[in-house]
Symmetry: C2
Subunit: 249 residues, 2 copies
Amino acid sequence: MTAASQTIQLNKDCSDCPIRHRAVCARCESDELELLESMKYYRDFEAGQTIVWSGDELNFVASVVDGIASLSQTMEDGRRQMVGLLLPSDFMGRPGRIHAPYDVTASTKVTLCCFRRGPFEQMMNDTPHVAQRLLEMTLDELDAAREWMLLLGRKTAREKIASLIAIIARRNAAIAQHDHTSSFTFELPMTREAMADYLGLTLETVSRQVSALKRDGVIALRGKREVTIPDFNRLLDETGDDSDGGPLV
Amino acid sequence: MTAASQTIQLNKDCSDCPIRHRAVCARCESDELELLESMKYYRDFEAGQTIVWSGDELNFVASVVDGIASLSQTMEDGRRQMVGLLLPSDFMGRPGRIHAPYDVTASTKVTLCCFRRGPFEQMMNDTPHVAQRLLEMTLDELDAAREWMLLLGRKTAREKIASLIAIIARRNAAIAQHDHTSSFTFELPMTREAMADYLGLTLETVSRQVSALKRDGVIALRGKREVTIPDFNRLLDETGDDSDGGPLV
DNA sequence: CCGGATCTTTGACATGGATCAAGGATACGC
DNA sequence: GCGTATCCTTGATCCATGTCAAAGATCCGG
């Protein structure tokens, strides 16, 4: 188990929680929030640490407060595929299911806001807002999974890399309040191997295609992780998606 | 539009509905069921017919009563990926979303039990059982999508074909109440091209791998569609999944 | 500042699956 | 029963990506 390097923090007030308005608690009224507040506890995980192993018993559910975690499946011979990304406000665990269906790994330092399974499920039955919000979030995840299926099944290696960079860029751009034409810069939050696991490629192919996009002026690199996009539309052209900006989210 | 070849049927009583206990209405009490009954209407679609196009306005949601439909996405240059399969009792449409995100196509003759968006969403807000059941179903779909991502990203063509046949076989076996050792027979409900779109392959590769599995005695064919599995465990060995029967669902 | 980990790049080569092309099987309308 | 459309199979060839191998970059602890 992973208990050794995990720490339990003191609880913070929900009202200054950074994910208060996007997480599973987004729709809760003050009485529901009070109930959640009384049953929550925080846990931290270091980058690289496994949060749960596939098949483990999972007696809590949680919201990601800070950091990035990934869901992955591994075949017997070691082939691995990432099947989901947990960003701040995303929910992990499934009401009604005891065993984890995937490995969950912290990609960066991660802080979780955890709830014990029993009380949480009770609350899902008793009050409507948590279940409603969780349904919305699950439907969004399903859409994301299906976009990803198109990527895995039909895109070329170059398109896959461009798509991944565009997704990460878009997330950063959303935060940095940015338009699509002038250049901007951000950090890739993952190794080449993690990118490969995400995209259904080998790490060598990832490295080659990143180099190719750099050579062609679609991206610029400083070091291994810092990416600059001189022209976002040029990048989008390389993703294979409709140019009207539909598919990527 | 597809209105020309679609027919509107007379309503049947929910109490003898074949999907009554698995669909989105599974948990409804008699008063909720009455409300649903008053707002539902049936629509039929022929095999091959498109039910909705990606981007279309969708003013209803529906349960599949009978038949098989597929969700697919198509890239500008024609590459296509199936991203979901709708079987009897599965739900299509998303509360709160107006435009369809995927093409929905009838693979066989399909009967839908439809609800206009407005009243259905009203009901989701007013009563808990529909939303609760829809959450469960959506979580199941998400799991299925993630299994599929592993298949698309990491399995070989042979493993993909074996996995698909095993999934279909398992579904038929569940219906036919069957054990895993003796042989049994069923029909592939799709063309080679549809299999290819499902698996992220070309139809030629599908054909070759089906032939190879036949040559190796893993399956037997009569005609193009009728498959016999002499030894289900042998088939499972070819899927690349854990032998304990975990991943396939 | 050094030595070892870890991550990344690049090259040479192998190969699985795509592509291009032809023809066979089956169903269906006339 | 014949012609045509659709679906499927098979062969030849090509190429994108995987595999294997080596070496370069970066980081970090001592």
